[in-house]
């Protein structure tokens, strides 16, 4: 209940106080200072001098995804779009993709040192729970901006307490949120692919709160086209 009140209040605030603001990144928006302004987001279009306000994610990100017939987004969100980042227009490992499947992606410890640390979440949340996470994501973003031919699988995991099917959906939100944060830090969205594993791949098999906390995570796997 608290979450929805916070979200509604934030939405109202955004509507009334800032006409250029088009999106809310997360329920815990204040943690990351993530009020997205249309004028600050035109890097996605390529030219920083050409600015325009965007009122739907299709306007904001461009029509990157024409693979499905969408709902009328203005009807969904009342002209304020949720800042989710549409998936790249290709799936790694398929015939149409120049990026291989996950088998060729590596644990980043091997190639990128300690930058790609796991990100942890509170119960049933999909935004990170610490300022350390923000720093980690900023470092990852900087690394990826310097290595534009490095591609990342962002893997969303959950603890065992919610149901199997709900956790599969929650995992998409965790990985999707981290992907969106990295995009907002300037990473090209086509470098990032999200995966939901739900609670299928725990790293701690016990039943303590500490085990649950270890399993509520986002982990990374990377592939670099530069490395042969």
């Amino acid at each position: 209940m608290k979450k929805s009140i916070l979200l509604s209040f934030t939405s109202l605030l955004l509507c009334t106080s800032c006409t250029n603001t088009v999106a809310i990144l997360s329920k815990k928006a204040s943690d990351f200072g993530v009020f997205l302004k249309a004028r600050a987001l035109t890097y996605l279009e390529g030219d920083v001098n050409e600015t325009k306000a965007a009122y739907t994610s299709a306007e904001f990100f461009g029509s990157t995804n024409e693979d499905f017939i969408p709902l009328d987004e203005k009807e969904i969100n009342g002209s304020i779009a949720y800042a989710s980042t549409p998936q790249p227009s290709f799936t790694p490992g398929t015939k149409d993709s120049l990026i291989p499947g996950i088998d060729l992606f590596k644990d980043p410890k091997e190639t990128a040192g300690g930058i790609f640390k796991k990100i942890y979440f509170d119960t049933d949340q999909y935004t990170p729970n610490s300022s350390e996470a923000k720093q980690t994501l900023q470092k990852i973003a900087n690394y990826l901006k310097k290595h534009p031919k490095t591609y990342v699988f962002v893997e969303g995991h959950c603890d065992k307490r919610a149901s199997e099917s709900y956790n599969l959906a929650l995992g998409t939100k965790r990985s999707g949120t981290i992907r969106t944060i990295l995009v907002n830090y300037g990473v090209n969205p086509n470098q990032l692919f999200s995966i939901s594993y739900g609670k299928e791949r725990p790293v701690a098999l016990g039943n303590t709160n500490s085990d649950f906390a270890k399993n509520r995570r986002v982990a990374f796997k990377i592939y670099s086209k530069d490395e042969k």
Binding site: K3, S4, L7, I24, K27, S57, N65, D67, F68, I69, P70, L71, D72, E73, E75, I76, N77, Y82, S84, T85, P86, Q87, S89, F90, T91, P92, G93, T94, G101, I102, D103, F105, D107, D124, Y126, F153, K160, A162, S163, E164, S165, Y166, L168, A169, L170, T172, K173, G176, R179, T180, S194, I195, S196, Y197, E200, R201, V203, A204, A219, K221
Partner: protein
């Protein structure tokens, strides 16, 4: 009672005036028929045991008839009487309504069904059994369903196949992708068959049968595979031939459910960046027609487990839009035309963390899992009366329920203390465990 007597008196007075016979039928509660399955005796003891076990257990689990206990006296009687068994008075004496007589000769099974009251015999003849136990089990289940149709007027679900995802038990945690596997398995109504039908060496979940009416031993099914990384819905064949991606959509595709007529698949995807509900039209050869259609998108919400009603007008799914995960019903008929989001009706229940709704075949009920007193139990929701009823109790957590095609059985998996598949008979309030051994057996689906 007095009024009934008065009416009968009036009828008795009027009848002679018209000189015709009037048949009065008063409503009576149908008596559960009593059944006896005679013992098959054969030189092939393995086959003999299989036939005897499958037919008896199929009828017991179906629950519409009362199984007459096989006493030593009756078994001796069966042995000595030979062909005279069919006409013997003993069945009348024991108030047995139907007797099933299986006979086996050179791998050909003949089953005679004696209707004791009418003294008629129906014969299911020349059923060719094979060298494959799994095929024989399926053939025997089909025979049981045929016999049930003769006795009750409606076939059972004994021959409906069941799919599930099996993840072997791992003692140690290993985060590497290659060591992390799960395949799709097939089982049956009694849990005799335990056949691996995929061999991808990847992680496979969420199996579903495609279009109904598959009469062959082999069939097509869909499932979710992680073999390339992002989970995608694939179409597979139980004969082991190569599987192919079914839906062209980027991102994660999860929790697919095939509509009752097999013409749609609903699923969740984050193609837009959110966890949205989509439906995909499917043709009669199980190929996708056109693009997937987004039917629900909740800002800041987690949407999961979509399921279509038999007429494909209603969509039940889970959303945490009010904080706790609840089941919602959406009428998507207009949404498909107008592209406006559907209005949602919340399924009221006493449980929390509701998940995995699934419609009954008659479209009047939804079965789902919810948490009550710290445990996940199965709930049955009556759509018209808007009442949810708790169906199960006990200390196991139960998830992913779906109806058998008779709407009298519910298939589900437990998640603690073990992860196994169970079949619940609603009428009898009895549960049968279909899987055994270590490892996780979950996400069950039953043929429509």
């Amino acid at each position: 009672m007095n009024r009934l007597r008065l009416n009968l008196l009036l009828l008795a007075l009027i009848t002679p005036l018209f000189g015709t016979e009037i048949e009065i039928s008063l409503p009576t509660k149908d008596r559960q028929p009593t059944l006896y399955v005679a013992t098959l005796r054969s030189s092939d003891h393995e086959l003999e045991n299989l036939v005897n076990y499958v037919i008896s257990e199929d009828f017991t689990l179906d629950g519409r008839g009362k199984m007459f206990e096989k006493t030593t006296a009756l078994l001796t009687f069966e042995k000595t009487k030979g062909e005279k068994l069919y006409s013997d008075e003993i069945w009348h004496t024991h108030k047995i309504d139907y007797v099933i007589f299986p006979n086996l000769s050179e791998n050909k099974l003949v089953i005679n069904l004696l209707n004791v009251r009418k003294s008629t015999i129906k014969t299911l003849s020349e059923i060719q059994l094979t060298a494959s136990r799994d095929k024989n089990v399926h053939i025997l289940h089909k025979a049981s369903d045929f016999l049930m149709e003769q006795i009750y007027g409606k076939a059972g679900i004994a021959s409906k196949r069941i799919l599930y995802s099996f993840k072997p038990y791992r003692k140690e945690v290993d985060e590497s992708t290659s060591s992390w596997t799960s395949e799709i398995f097939e089982t049956d109504y009694l849990g005799i068959i335990n056949r691996q039908i995929t061999n991808e060496h990847s992680y496979l979940i969420n199996p579903e049968f495609t279009r109904k009416g598959s009469r062959s031993f082999y069939y097509e099914f869909i499932y979710v595979t992680y073999k390339l990384g992002q989970p995608q819905i694939y179409l597979g064949k139980s004969d082991g031939s190569a599987s192919v991606p079914l839906i062209k959509l980027c991102g994660n595709q999860l929790l697919p459910k095939v509509s009752f007529d097999g013409s749609f698949i609903c699923f969740i995807s984050d193609a837009s960046g959110k966890s949205d509900v989509f439906i995909q039209k499917i043709d009669s050869s199980n190929q996708a027609i056109g693009k997937p259609i987004q039917v629900y998108s909740g800002t800041g919400q987690t949407s999961a487990s979509p399921s279509l009603s038999p007429d494909n007008k209603l969509l039940a799914f889970v959303s945490d839009k009010t904080g706790d995960a609840k089941v919602y019903i959406a009428n998507i008929e207009q949404t498909l035309v107008s592209r406006k989001p559907p209005l949602l009706e919340r399924v009221k229940s006493t449980c929390s963390e509701c998940t995995s709704p699934s419609f009954s075949h008659d479209g009047t009920k939804i079965v789902f899992s919810g948490k009550i007193n710290g445990r996940r139990q199965i709930f049955l929701y009556d759509i018209k009366q808007k009442i949810a009823q708790q169906l199960t109790t006990g200390s196991e957590d139960k998830e992913n329920p779906c109806f058998g095609s008779d709407d009298r059985h519910i298939l589900y998996n437990t998640t603690s203390p073990t992860t196994d598949i169970f079949l619940l008979s609603i009428d009898q309030n009895k549960v049968r465990k279909l899987t055994k051994g270590s490892g996780e057996k979950h996400y069950p689906a039953i043929e429509k």
